[in-house]
């Protein structure tokens, strides 16, 4: 299995940005296991940072074993347990009974032939294939819901005061609903997992150029040099994988 999965090369980075007091994003980069993840935490004080860290560290040590389908099942189960931990199992204080402790998640599991992307929230997965960029994940945000389910015009949806509010996240609801996308991989496929801090601060042209560079390391460096040259108001995270 290790020989099969060593066909992946990857690089990852996360940065606090220039404005936020702390980094609430966490990343996981395990090319030897074929597992990568970005989590963007939310909540007051350090709750967001703890939530995203809990997700990453839970998956980092998860015994995966088996084939890709079994691995996906294990990761899903683990995310459901974290959802419960951050949701109704959490101790709350009387002055903050509704304190939020949650996180987005976008994860990719891959072997030589196939890859599976699972996500909740607005962290994204992109695929660069044959000189074209595809967004594989669809944001779980109010804006996306207005556009796709209520056929609201995208410009009008973006003006909604709560356009960026998440409709799904780990720890946010009683039941966690993960979206899952499975696809076959081709040699040269390059994938990007990132938090909104990254894709909000660079254009799709920059994303495409980065993913076409010679290595995942070069792609990550290019993305961060562009993202950090701007105002960088949010935390920034990216993981780039190439088959």
């Amino acid at each position: 299995m290790e020989v099969l999965q060593s066909c992946w090369r990857s690089a990852a980075r996360t940065d606090r940005g220039k404005v936020r007091e702390r980094n609430e994003d966490s990343v996981l980069d395990q090319p030897e296991r074929g597992v990568w993840l970005v989590a963007d935490g939310m909540g007051g004080h350090q709750n967001g940072a703890l939530a995203s860290r809990l997700i990453v560290e839970e998956i980092a040590e998860l015994e995966l074993g088996g084939n890709l389908d079994q691995q996906v099942r294990r990761v899903r189960q683990a995310l459901h347990v974290v959802n419960r931990r951050l949701g109704h199992e959490v101790t709350v204080t009387a002055d903050q009974p509704d304190a939020v402790m949650g996180s987005t998640v976008v994860a990719l599991l891959g072997n030589q032939e196939r890859a599976v992307c699972l996500w909740a929230g607005d962290s994204r997965c992109y695929l660069w294939r044959n000189q074209r960029l595809y967004q594989l994940s669809r944001d779980h945000s109010l804006m996306q819901q207005l556009i796709h389910e209520e056929q609201v015009d995208p410009l009008e949806a973006a003006r909604h005061p709560a356009a960026n509010a998440l409709t799904r996240a780990v720890g946010a609801h009683e039941r966690l609903v993960l979206d899952i996308l499975e696809f076959s991989v081709q040699p040269g496929d390059t994938l990007l997992l990132c938090s909104d801090g990254l894709y909000q601060s660079v254009s799709t042209g920059i994303l495409s150029h980065a993913l076409g560079l010679i290595s995942p390391e070069a792609a990550v460096e290019y993305l961060f040099s562009h993202a950090l040259s701007g105002p960088a108001r949010d935390n920034i995270s990216a993981v780039v994988m190439r088959r």
Binding site: G44, H45, L54, E57, R85, H88, E89, T91, V92, T93
Partner: protein
């Protein structure tokens, strides 16, 4: 910022007139990220759990590792930043340590030491490192509920741990499925972060003031806690009864509502015995699940006696002996 703890006697770091000054521990610490190594000894490796007030990490004890200990891991608890900013936060964590280090029971987590990292001034305590599924994992996997034999294997050690705590005057204050773990060598009850000594025990120690910081886990908190009342044995009894009901039936007794919501909807009247539960356990469990404290007319010891019951077989009943 207000003090978060009641200090009936002299708080750490305060000189009392007429007495010599005690060595002082810095009482105020600045918020900030947790250092990677605490007290030059404990290397933080990963986050194990988070709560409203504290976080627990797995740490490698570098000293034990240096002496060749093959398993040099400890669980390490610190207060969350928002609580670490309270003036006597360190004393608050110490009171948890002082309270819980009185406990000696094979089904209660073992506590090792209380420390303050000199550089960051962050207080922390170390405990045995526990591995295994917690009851919330078990409940989410076994939605049909546990059979009677399986339930007994959890209920008996859990009730014994709670009974042992109460016997030495220690109230838990936050019993819930994720605070109970099934390790290879048995069940452990942990996280006494909201614990309280019963009146009169440990009189000199600072204790969590429920007037200033009231905290609970909504689905497991007794009605009186939600209404601002003091923590008593009866509140721990309610919480443990919710867990036992959940384990037996596979679902929360009050449709995952808080006691306050469930009472408003009069859910107490429609509570049914879980199918897998023997009839002789139901009156005590039902009483322990009463919303009003004065209606909860049973005890942890009585519940333990019920759950320790071994049903006799038909042959035993026919021939009148235990075989």
């Amino acid at each position: 910022m207000d003090s978060a703890v009641d200090t009936p006697a002299s708080p750490a770091g305060t000189q009392v007139a007429g007495k010599p000054a005690k060595p002082t521990l810095p009482a105020v610490r600045q918020g900030g990220e947790l250092p990677t190594v605490l007290s030059n000894r404990y290397r933080i490796e990963r986050l194990l759990g988070v709560g409203g007030m504290g976080a627990v990490y797995r740490a490698r004890d570098l000293l034990r590792e240096q002496y060749g200990d093959p398993d040099p891991y400890v669980a390490l608890k610190t207060l969350n930043e928002e609580f670490a900013e309270y003036p006597d936060a360190n004393a608050l964590l110490y009171s948890e340590f002082a309270l819980t280090s009185r406990l000696r029971h094979s089904n209660v987590i073992r506590f090792y030491a209380f420390n303050v990292d000199r550089v960051s001034q962050r207080a922390f305590m170390t405990m045995e490192m526990l591995k295994g599924p917690t009851l919330d994992q078990l409940i989410s996997e076994r939605t049909e509920g546990l059979n009677w034999h399986e339930l007994q294997q959890i209920a008996i050690p859990l009730l014994e741990a709670l009974h042992a705590s109460h016997s030495v005057g220690v109230l838990h204050g936050d019993i819930k499925p994720s605070n109970v773990i099934l390790t290879a060598d048995g069940l452990r009850l942990f996280d006494y972060g909201l614990g309280q000594p019963v009146q009169g025990l440990l009189p000199g120690l600072p204790r969590l003031s429920r007037k200033r910081i009231a905290a609970w886990t909504p689905r497991y908190a007794a009605l009186e806690l939600l209404e601002g009342g003091p923590l008593t044995e009866a509140a721990d009894l309610y919480a443990v009864a919710v867990i036992l009901y959940e384990l037996s039936s596979g679902h929360h007794p009050y449709s995952r509502l808080t006691a306050k919501q469930a009472k408003c909807m009069d859910q107490g009247g429609t509570l049914n015995k879980p199918e897998n539960l023997p009839s002789n356990c139901w009156p005590a469990l039902k009483a322990a699940l009463a919303f009003d404290e004065e209606q909860r007319n049973t005890t942890v010891a009585q519940l333990l006696a019920c759950f320790s019951f071994k049903p006799t077989s038909l042959l035993q009943r026919l021939f009148g002996h235990a075989g």
